[in-house]
């Protein structure tokens, strides 16, 4: 029997969560034994996995700083995961306290945790939704309460798209989001790529993530660039994330080992 829409989610924290595994890679302790076991299996398969996650997180930080400097005060972070160190609202509200941030994640524990973190912050909220349902995200009353989509808004989809297969039509999902955004809005994308990685590593990583219920879907530079359709990519375009506006020349060395491609685009006026 098909479950009706209002039926509750399964209660399942016995399964590794990609959000809590990511927290582990970043050095956090917001994770359970089952998550650590999966993350350790991943590190065994891909020893640089924690560095990849850190590089990606650093990309997020630089991109958000860039957007704040560009005058953006509304952020929609889809696939925000566990609110570990360096959350978007911490970054932006430090610089521009009036900024508003809406987090979205499918992981109910991540959402519950975010709710606790954000309990006293009336400029930031979290909603449980899936990137695969952009209409539901855009129509969500919490989003409508905090964000005025007639004003420029930044949509962050960082380290999430590799959980969205082509069968889910990511281009259409992004088009739906883009169509809801005002001119001058921004899109930040990053995702895992298997460019230049050995085949065994790729298949081992896929095996680990299949157990999480969020299988991996790698994309290359041209595929990710295509997903910026309708946005004008800012320099340096879609690159390995350490190469995106690095703080120091050294920090972008061996950038391809990050295995994450990212870019930032803007809807023209």
């Amino acid at each position: 029997m098909r479950r009706p829409d209002w039926a509750p989610d399964d209660i399942d924290i016995e399964r590794p969560s990609v959000a809590r595994m990511y927290d582990y890679y970043l050095g956090g302790s917001h994770n359970f034994a089952v998550d650590r076991a999966a993350a350790q299996a991943m590190v065994a398969a891909v020893p640089e996995a924690p560095l990849m996650a850190q590089a990606n997180r650093a990309f997020l930080r630089r991109a958000v700083h860039f957007l704040v400097d560009a005058g953006i005060r509304q952020f929609l972070d889809i696939g925000s995961g566990i609110p570990t160190v360096g959350n978007v609202h911490e970054i932006v509200q430090q610089v521009a306290p009036e900024s508003r941030v809406v987090y979205v994640d499918t992981d109910p524990v991540a959402v519950a945790h975010s709710q606790e973190i954000l309990a006293d912050n009336n400029q930031a909220t979290v909603l449980q939704e899936d990137l695969r349902h952009p209409d539901r995200i855009l129509d969500h009353p919490e989003l409508r309460r905090l964000l005025n989509l007639n004003e420029p808004t930044a949509v962050l989809i960082v380290a999430v798209l590799h959980f969205v297969s082509d069968d889910d039509r990511p281009a259409e999902l992004l088009r739906t989001l883009r169509d809801a955004l005002a001119p001058g809005s921004w899109l930040v994308l990053s995702q895992a790529s298997d460019e230049g990685r050995p085949e065994t590593e790729r298949s081992d990583a896929e095996t680990v993530y299949r157990r999480t219920g969020s299988p991996l879907w790698f994309r290359d530079r041209s595929e990710l660039t295509t997903l910026f359709d309708g946005f004008e990519l800012v320099e340096p375009g879609v690159v390995w994330v350490p190469q995106w506006r690095p703080e120091t020349p050294e920090s972008s060395m061996n950038a391809e080992t990050s295995a994450f491609l990212g870019g930032v685009g803007r809807i023209g006026d």
Binding site: D9, D10, T84, G86
Partner: protein
């Protein structure tokens, strides 16, 4: 007392500090995610390096500075085992050298300071780890609680949907059945009684037909709300369509249930406004009330349903109380009806004949065929025990057809020297209205060889009370064949004289109840009625047969009035044809 320590090359200290900070930053980068820029990181490490340097040279030597540095590192998210290891290594190898620190016991102090850094760092990291574990576990618990609450809510919702009617939100048949079963299975006392009111709106179909189904649904919702309000404390359920039921538990007797039914009638019988029209709503209610012990849900439901039909049959807009005796009789009647087709197949029906005699000379003119049923269990049944049922159910058509064919077959074989009698057969209303009657009669006559003028068909006045043309035409064609047409029981129905003028009728049979009043010596009202009927018939050129003639006195008076023929015990009881024929010789 000498100065405890001095930087031997103050001018080189800054470049040394820069080199040390860079080395430290390099060492810890990548050990965990650092939510800060390189510049911010270097500023932090620069400050901490200065604190460490100051502590190494401070008098008195204070280890708390080392602990503070360890704690601050963790607070800045430089918080991993690797970060600590590399920090200890860099400080141990480079701090004293890069900053050119000089003190007598510098090696000892450095070892003790690093121990303090490690202690502070480890303690802070442990606290942080525990905090994070606690917070993620709390989130998981919050999520689980929420999910369980949602599950319970959805289960309650599933349960509600499964047990309630979606239109009216009243309990549905499932819940009602469940509650009734519980009431019957677990009475509080042996003497507990239970009652049911079955409701069905009268002519509800008309609301749907006239105002549409939406309006019909609104009437149902309105009725449901009224019942709910008027009958708090009792289970009111919608069984489907416009049928509702009220369960009354632990009744004190029939009166309690009647009171509920009265309240339900009063609540429902308010007009409802639907689509701007005032719609009259009426309902019928069947009531059953009895002791819980010894009854079953099925019995109760059937009894209530059957009683509801009685209320409907009595005109609706009322309650009716279950009557076991009436129910039993109806069941018997139904069983009897159901047995008619098999009885026909098995040849359980047969005919007796009753003489119709001339009042002028006593001669036998004809015989009326009367059907009997030799029932295998109930014995011989007279027509009044089963013909009514057969007429209600339509079984009269095959049964009447058999009677007609059998009577004709028998009469066709009779041969009497002194004049062979005609045979008179009753035709039910349904038979008269059936297309194909003429052909059926024609076939039967042909098969039996009976001349048409020796067949008389008796029809009741009500058979002619239809506006349809076909029955009249059929009778005309039968009369044209030569078949005699008699009106049975004349004077007890509508006695519409118009059809006597238009129809090819040959005879009137005057109902026995008029004849019964002919006993008295003095002419009474009945005698005058019969006399009038006779003269009316004669004026129309019809013959008259009086039914129910029981005495010679009655026969005498009828003869005096001028009545043509008589039928009744005085002339002979119904009996097999051969006995009648034998007497004629």
């Amino acid at each position: 007392m000498t100065s405890p320590a001095t930087a031997n090359q103050p001018s080189g200290a800054n470049s040394g500090m820069a080199a040390f900070t860079q080395e430290w930053a390099n060492a810890i980068t990548g050990t965990s995610y650092l939510p800060m820029s390189q510049a911010q990181l270097k500023r932090l490490l620069d400050r901490l390096a200065r604190e460490l340097a100051a502590a190494l040279l401070a008098e008195p030597f204070d280890l708390r500075a080392g602990q503070r540095v360890g704690t601050e590192l963790v607070a800045a998210h430089i918080a991993s085992a690797e970060a600590l290891g590399r920090t200890v290594e860099v400080v141990q190898l480079r701090l004293v050298r890069d900053l050119g620190l000089v003190a007598d016991d510098i090696a000892d102090r450095l070892a003790r300071l690093l121990a303090a850094v490690t202690t502070g760092y480890t303690r802070a990291l442990r606290d942080r780890t525990l905090d994070e574990q606690e917070s993620i576990r709390r989130a998981a618990m919050a999520q689980r609680t929420k999910a369980e609450r949602a599950l319970r809510a959805s289960e309650a919702r599933f349960r509600h949907q499964a047990t309630h009617d979606s239109l009216t939100d009243l309990p549905n048949r499932n819940l009602f059945t469940e509650r009734l079963a519980t009431a019957l299975a677990k009475p509080r006392r042996d003497s507990d009684r239970v009652g049911l009111c079955f409701l069905d709106l009268d002519q509800f179909k008309r609301v749907n037909d006239q105002h549409g189904h939406q309006a019909g649904d609104r009437v149902l919702t309105e009725v449901a709300n009224r019942l709910r309000q008027a009958l708090t404390g009792h289970l009111v359920a919608r069984l489907g369509g416009d049928a509702f039921v009220i369960l009354i538990e632990r009744t004190g007797g029939t009166r309690d249930v009647i009171a509920v039914a009265e309240a339900a009638l009063a609540a429902v019988h308010e007009p409802a406004v639907v689509a701007g029209h005032e719609v009259t709503v009426r309902t019928s209610i069947g009531i059953v009330e009895r002791q819980v012990a010894g009854t079953s849900a099925n019995e109760l439901m059937r009894a209530a349903d059957c009683t509801l039909h009685w209320a409907k049959a009595a005109g609706g807009g009322r309650w009716t109380l279950y009557d076991a005796e009436r129910d039993r009789q109806e069941l018997t009647r139904q069983a009897l009806t159901a047995a008619i087709p098999a009885g026909l197949d098995r040849g359980e029906f047969y005919l007796d004949y009753q003489p119709l005699a001339s009042l002028r000379d006593g001669r036998l003119l004809g015989v009326e065929a009367l059907v009997r049923w030799r029932h295998p269990e109930l014995g011989v049944l007279r027509p009044d025990q089963f013909i009514g049922l057969a007429e209600e159910t339509g079984l009269i058509v095959p049964l009447g057809g058999w009677v007609l064919a059998e009577a004709c077959r028998a009469a066709g074989s009779w041969s009497v020297t002194s004049g062979t009698p005609f045979v008179s057969v009753n035709l039910a209303v349904r038979q008269v209205h059936r297309p194909g009657l003429v052909q059926e009669v024609r076939n039967i006559l042909q098969r039996s060889g009976l001349p048409p003028e020796r067949l008389q068909l008796e029809i009741t006045e009500s058979a002619m009370m239809s506006p349809a043309e076909e029955p009249v035409q059929a009778l005309r064609r039968l009369a044209d064949l030569g078949v005699r047409i008699a009106i049975d029981d004349f004077g007890t129905g509508y006695s519409n004289l118009a059809y006597l003028r238009d129809l090819p009728v040959t005879e009137l049979k005057v109902a026995g109840e008029f004849v019964a009043g002919l006993r008295a010596q003095e002419p009474q009202a009945d005698e005058r009625i019969v006399a009038s009927l006779v003269s009316l018939a004669h004026a129309l050129d019809l013959t008259v047969t009086a039914e129910g003639v029981e005495t010679a006195g009655q026969a005498e008076r009828l003869r005096a009035i001028g009545c043509d023929a008589g039928q009744g015990w005085h002339f002979g009881r119904p009996e097999p044809a051969d006995r009648i024929l034998a007497r004629l010789g």
